[in-house]
């Protein structure tokens, strides 16, 4: 079964939201990859995940441009329990303003040791996806709230400074 035409999500479930305990597995996966393969291996995983698993989304973005990006993130966060997010469309960019990150919130509530690099995953993964769609991503903030900015390449956003992404704290 493919996703219904009305959903911007490429893979759909029978329930409206996911199970937040899966954030524990995402955090644990990052820790395992960082310990076994190092930062470069973890980054490679995220980039290949972005180009591979997320290829249907990248294609949507490539074909639909920034409005498709906005539609996707609204649908994405509606399916993530506990997310408080505003998706703001500008003529030249889309800002995903994450006021309460559902993953960081749940990991903290569960008393989990959060991987310090956790918030960088959104950049490495998202940048690979954006690049595949002819877009760019910049990320600032982290550790519970942040802003993702998607823009067309020609917009000429300043290069990403990884120091703009905060270390995630438990």
């Amino acid at each position: 079964m493919s996703a219904p035409a009305s959903s911007p999500l490429p893979h759909v479930d029978t329930k409206p939201q996911g199970s937040a305990d899966f954030y524990y597995a995402v955090n644990a996966t990052f820790r395992f990859l960082l310990q076994r393969l190092g930062p470069d291996g973890w980054r490679r995983y995220l980039e290949e995940l972005g180009r591979g698993y997320f290829e249907p989304v990248n294609r949507q973005w490539s074909q639909g441009g920034l409005p498709a990006v906005a539609r996707y993130w609204r649908a994405f966060f509606a399916a993530e329990p506990g997310a408080v997010v505003d998706v703001v469309e500008h003529p030249d960019r889309v800002e995903v303003q994450v006021r309460e990150c559902p993953a960081i919130k749940h990991l903290r509530a569960g008393g989990r040791e959060i991987v310090g690099e956790y918030c960088q995953h959104c950049y490495f993964l998202g940048a690979a996806r954006a690049e595949a769609a002819g877009l760019t991503l910049r990320l600032s903030g982290g550790s519970g709230s942040c802003c993702h900015t998607y823009a067309r390449r020609e917009t000429g956003l300043a290069p990403q400074d990884l120091r703009e992404i905060k270390e995630a704290r438990s």
Partner: protein, 186 residues
Amino acid sequence: MIGCYDFCGHYEWTFGWLERVGGHALVRDYWNEAINHDSQSHARDLIRREGIPGMLKYWGHTLLEESPDLGFNITHTADVFRIDFHDCPSRGFLRRNGLKHYHDYCDHCMGWTGPMLGEAGYVIDHEHNHLGQCWWEMRKAGTPGGHAPAGSVAGPKDVRLRPDWPKDPAKLDRYTKANDPDAKMP
């Protein structure tokens, strides 16, 4: 961001990626170290501490959250904890969405629960048909029983009583008193 809504999709993709990068050993280590010992440490601690009542608390909660339409059935006595999956929420997600990047997604369950239950002193009898149906019986290591006759533990909710449960054993992966994902019966 990696989300939890389509978790089973990127989780399954990750198995294939790990196998390409580090072979089967890295996949096994991932299930044991990342899932058993880290992600699911709450289950591990609970079951090591409480045994079968801990299994009931853990799976009773987590399966209800993952499968609110009750595609599963739990049966337990003092000696055995049994789950029958009639509509596995994660395998079902993959099948409905046409996702397959790893040769046998179902192996991940034994990959992390096998070592977890072994550390708690339990062994597993199990069969899965790769189509979203499977059953599990968990007993203390060294106790009798295992592969109980169809219906004898779970009654009419035993998945093996379904008309579509394979009659050909070659279509099933089968484990006996196991804790290792590679310990499939020939």
